[in-house]
Point group: C2
Chain length 271, copies 2
């Protein structure tokens, strides 16, 4: 229970104040936040709301999207990430989750796109370090490699992160994106102190038409969530475990119902 964190994106249409109140009432210690609704609510106001409820922010999602077709776009994205670092610092979290971005339009240059991610990290890492925030590189499932995230495995995320101090750049272990990988347990061990968060949802089939919304509730799918959590623990990770599910049916259900179900399933399948 003291490691559980519900990312607000799991109950997308539930107002922040309700998620915070429910988390407080359930005796939770953590909450995961999402940039857009927090910007809308007001970053400092959200920081106060969360702190007043006795909660800490497990992570802010998300920055990144470093791949770009020209220098102007690239600069704009770097500046946006600088703002994201500031927001994370204001919210009192040391984890800013980064999704790297897909191939630039019309490009097949995967190495080049990955180099853009590395260059973005290089520009931002010292600033993040100054603000007490770690840039947490998240590998997305390989089905998103072309259009969303050219970092497609934990090994690939670590290849990037290890070019920087561990205090500045780490990685996310998201079960949904990584579970299929025959190498994942070895890579979790390799990750060690770089692990910034363990995120959970489940793999269910068939994928929906919009495969961004294909994540299932823990226990409904194929992933050995507890085993992966134990592997993170064995690698030295002792921080929050964040539930992050994008699923239209869950979004359409009453917030409190999803909140209760997620907590119960976490205890059954992850803790």
């Amino acid at each position: 229970m003291n490691r559980y964190s519900l990312n607000q994106a799991t109950t997308k249409y539930w107002p922040l104040e309700d998620v915070v109140a429910a988390s407080n009432k359930a005796g939770l210690y953590w909450i995961g936040l999402w940039r857009e609704p927090i910007q809308e609510y007001g970053v400092e106001r959200a920081a106060k709301l969360v702190a007043d409820a006795g909660l800490r922010v497990s992570s802010l999602c998300r920055g990144g999207f470093f791949t770009a077709t020209d220098e102007a776009e690239r600069r704009m994205k770097i500046e946006d990430n600088r703002r994201a670092i500031d927001e994370a610092a204001t919210l009192g979290t040391d984890v800013l989750v980064l999704v790297s971005g897909g191939l630039p339009a019309g490009s097949r240059d995967l190495d080049g796109a990955r180099a853009m991610v590395r260059d973005g990290l290089a520009e931002l890492a010292p600033y993040a370090g100054e603000r007490g925030v770690r840039l947490a590189v998240e590998a997305l499932h390989p089905m998103f490699c072309s259009d969303r995230c050219v970092v497609s495995s934990l090994g690939g995320a670590l290849d990037l992160a290890e070019q920087f101090p561990a205090t500045q750049v780490g990685v996310i272990v998201d079960a949904y994106h990584l579970w299929w990988d025959a190498d994942v347990y070895r890579q979790i061990e390799r990750a060690g102190e770089r692990i910034c968060s363990y995120q959970v949802s489940d793999w269910i089939v068939p994928l929906p038409v919009d495969n961004l919304l294909g994540r299932g509730m823990m226990g409904d799918g194929s992933i050995e969530l507890r085993r992966l959590r134990e592997a993170c623990d064995a690698a030295g990770y002792a921080g929050p475990v964040e539930v992050e599910i994008f699923n239209q049916d869950l979004w359409d259900a009453p917030g409190q119902e999803v909140f209760d179900l997620a907590l119960r399933r976490y205890l059954e399948h992850v803790a």
Copy 2:
């Protein structure tokens, strides 16, 4: 041109005799065959048709599907693979493509499922060797890990294949399934003489509702097909390059049109 092979599954509804005639007329040397239509046509009859047209069979697709919920199902699948080896031998090809199968219904035991694949290979490899056929383990894209193929990367395929003599068990390098992997070029080098085939199609977005049919024509998507082909060559592979595209629009188009387009695109983007 002397390495080009069209897998008949690319023109699924075109009769075998038409694909063979078109391949012969185009001066091709190879053709890729699919088990079900060949069984329907008659295996020995197909062998004669192909030989009379001066063609050789680049591969037979496909056996495998080793994962099972009980021993009776497992035995049945082993026997079916024995038949597939016989069919490959009759057709004169030394490559039988194997898709390993997904998680057994209701199971989350990925290691256990992969062990079933290893056990299946162990039972079949000596028999395949006797018949002059190599079992070619194909990693499918990780989005198929749960329901179709628990081998999700070239590294994972090699972990299995390397437990057996290279004359008996090899791997397929299919660009569609492997292109996203930051480790793929290192794994192709590792594969070396185990490479049984290089297969091409392209990654296009968005995925269709049935993601089994999401493959695009070479040149329409994100994959560096020539670079991957050159990597296979550098690893010592000099065999056929097989076009294998599952795409409803292409299946609905006239066979000769797809045949001509695939050959042109191969020359532009792969050869």
